[in-house]
Amino acid sequence: MNIGKSVVIKGELNGSEDLTIEGQVEGKIELRQNVLTIGANGRIKAQVFAKAVIILGEVTGNVTATEKVDIRDNGSVDGDIAAPRVAIAEGAHFRGSIDMQKANAKPGDAKADAKPGHTAAAVATPAAPTGSPVTAGANR
């Protein structure tokens, strides 16, 4: 289901099917069993709860997902994220906290061979953009 660019919703949005939002929502969004996609035109000022959240537009508010939060290139989140997996692309904006604690997890008990390349976050990170300033002090 899609909520189009011209749609503005103020209030609580609940549902039991996957949803893509290209419009504006202010309030609260709950799709506990489904995937929520905030499209490139989507502007959300809300607390968000979903199974998975894919963000290409702008979200102001806390985002909680039971599976994954994925902030794509040019996506923007100002708020706190809680999810077992979080992927943030290179050109994304994020300000807030990220809580990836799993149930029953203890600090530092991740597998010894855990590498960033094995994580969801790494998968979503594309190559660096061109035309960026040079790194300093990398000689070794």
């Binding site: 997996r85 979080v86 992927a87 943030i88 692309a89 290179e90 994304a92 904006h93 994020f94 300000r95 807030g96 906290s97 990220i98 809580d99 990836m100 604690q101 799993k102 997890a105 203890k106 600090p107 530092g108 008990d109 991740a110 597998k111 855990a114 590498k115 960033p116 390349g117 094995h118 994580t119 969801a120 976050a121 790494a122 979503a124 990170t125 190559a127 660096a128 953009p129 061109t130 035309g131 960026s132 300033p133 040079v134 790194t135 300093a136 002090g137 990398a138 000689n139 070794r140």
Partner: protein, 218 residues
């Protein structure tokens, strides 16, 4: 070999020293070993509860994944490089110390680790003092702070973002920010600035970067 030549020659061919800008990044910078980073991870892992970590750099997807998997921590992204950039563009860098004082929402003694990267190099003394004071305030007993400090000043230097490769190395990557002047903080000033913390480890790397790990005693 080439990097050695560039280092000793004191010049990088693709770096515009006036603007701090550079040629395109290919994203394939070699990993650079860090001696302080594994110590920081060990220190944070020893904290009794799920740790709280603050990253003063820009958000990097791989780092988020690494810290989530490796430490199971709550990670706060406090991108001070972006704040610096905003103030620099507006010509209000003198307001940065006050902005830093009010920026952090963390309670006293509530944070287990702070990743400063090389941000202190870009700060004039009042801003550096203001930030250090906030870090000391927020740090929990047993908590650790990691910072990189240069040994030579520069009128204009680009920002660097540090991507975690593994427990022992980082990839130094270009940052989109405009950069700024780099200042040298003598060791004694660093120690004074973080009054209340102890220098747990310090290293001088081959690239003349000083890596510091400071800890709040339990």
């Amino acid at each position: 070999m080439l990097s050695d030549l560039l280092r000793w020659g004191g010049k990088r061919p693709d770096h515009n020293e006036k603007t701090g800008e550079a040629s395109a990044s290919r994203g394939d910078e070699p990993p650079v070993p860090s001696k302080a980073f594994p110590k920081l991870l060990a220190a944070i892992s020893q904290q009794p509860d799920a740790p709280v970590l603050i990253d003063l750099g820009p958000v990097i997807g791989t780092n988020v994944g690494f810290f989530g998997e490796r430490l199971g921590c709550k990670l706060f992204i406090e991108d001070l490089f972006a704040d610096y950039d905003r103030h620099a563009r507006a010509g209000t860098l003198e307001a940065l110390p006050a902005a830093i004082t009010t920026r952090f929402r963390h309670a006293d003694g509530s944070v287990d680790g702070v990743l400063c990267w090389d941000f202190f190099d870009f700060l004039a003394k009042p801003a550096a003092l203001s930030l250090a004071k906030q870090i000391v305030r927020m740090l929990r007993p047993g908590g650790a702070v990691m910072g990189f400090f240069c040994t030579s000043a520069s009128e204009r230097a680009a920002f660097t973002k540090y991507e975690v490769v593994d427990d022992h190395s980082l990839r130094h990557r270009p940052h989109a920010g405009s950069g700024g002047a780099k200042h040298v903080l003598p060791n004694r000033d660093i120690i004074k600035m973080f009054d209340g913390l102890i220098v747990s480890d310090s290293f001088l790397l081959k690239n003349n970067t000083r890596e510091f790990l400071l800890r709040r005693p339990r």
